[in-house]
Symmetry: C2
DNA sequence: GTCGACATGTAAATTGTTACATGATTTA
DNA sequence: TAAATCATGTAACAATTTACATGTCGAC
């Protein structure tokens, strides 16, 4: 029997949690952040954000608090919220995340700054690199096998996929070096 | 007053339509296609696919038909289905698609093969290039302006975004050349 | 003769979209 | 002072996830 809180938390919830951990925001501020900054393809529609904020409050992961000089109230993560965020950031990477959920991995990376230590960050990047290499190999294998009998557009789209992951790999190598000497 | 069929068709619906246009598939075949081939981040869960197939049948965009030597029934697009697919492929590109919906654009590209003529294909790629250039410029502008006061991880994630779009741009130039001499 | 893949679905709960509604505050 | 932006929400609807349910068929 598991008595811990296991209510599901979607990746939008984590995106909000990560955002307000970096800087407390009002509901409206969160909406604007998702609409304007490219990070994460989450929609800032009120019908998505406000229910999410309710969810997170009910789970005890965030609270509304008057913050800063102007006494406007903004959302901040609770201790439980920070801990949930950290747990999310530390989740082991799987090949499936790389293949289907790369955006979320990048979001996790973006939010690591002041929550993980250097070792944990490097470990994330190393793990990412391993998985990327494996996945790229797999894709190339598939590409070789279907070479001839794939329509032109299908082949080009596939090659786009490979080029994409190679870019991600190159980036992760650069990022690793940057983090290493920080 | 608009009497045309305006029931919304999601991009999963188009993905299915495009897939069976290339090659008729059973419901199960479609599920496996989405699960295994990387094209499009759509889930092949039965709770998504079978309802979608019902939707498409109700809209008259696909039909079940016994096809090929083995008399197993597979889904094929109707004339209306092919026409809806073509319309989707020809939709003008917008900057927002590039920023938030690139996957869908790539999916559209992948399905163009035998539905659009050369000119239409080239026009798609040219339009994509223009938008990519504009968006990359915008991102770089933003990057310059926030240079200093962005946490390391945030900055790196942002640079990943830029590198990503540059890869897309390079790919689209190559694709254009390939299509041109085909 | 059992295990895994083929094959098709349903139900509940969750989540997100679109559109509406309201009012305060700032700025031109 | 009118328009735009800030600010918070709700309601109806559409879509997806997760889990369950059932049965066939071929391979080992």
């Amino acid at each position: 029997m598991d008595f811990s809180i296991t209510k599901k938390t979607t990746s939008l919830d984590y995106a909000i949690l990560g955002l307000i951990h970096q800087e407390p925001q009002s509901g409206y501020g969160i909406r604007k952040a998702f609409e304007t900054t490219a990070l994460g393809n989450y929609s800032g529609s009120p019908g998505a954000i406000y229910p999410a904020l309710k969810r997170l409050q009910k789970l005890g992961l965030i609270i509304k608090s008057t913050y800063g000089a102007n006494n406007k109230s903004k959302f901040v993560p609770t201790e439980a919220g920070r801990s949930a965020l950290r747990k999310w950031l530390l989740q082991p990477l799987e090949i499936n995340d790389v293949a289907k959920n790369l955006d979320e991995l990048l979001l996790r990376f973006a939010f690591m700054d002041n929550l993980l230590n250097k070792e944990e960050k490097l470990s994330f990047l190393l793990s990412l690199q391993e998985l990327l290499k494996a996945y790229i190999t797999e894709l190339k294998e598939y590409h070789k096998n279907t070479e001839g009998h794939l329509p032109v557009h299908g082949r080009l789209a596939f090659e786009y996929g490979i080029a994409s992951y190679q870019t991600t790999l190159r980036w992760s190598i650069k990022a690793l070096q940057t983090i290493k000497k920080s």
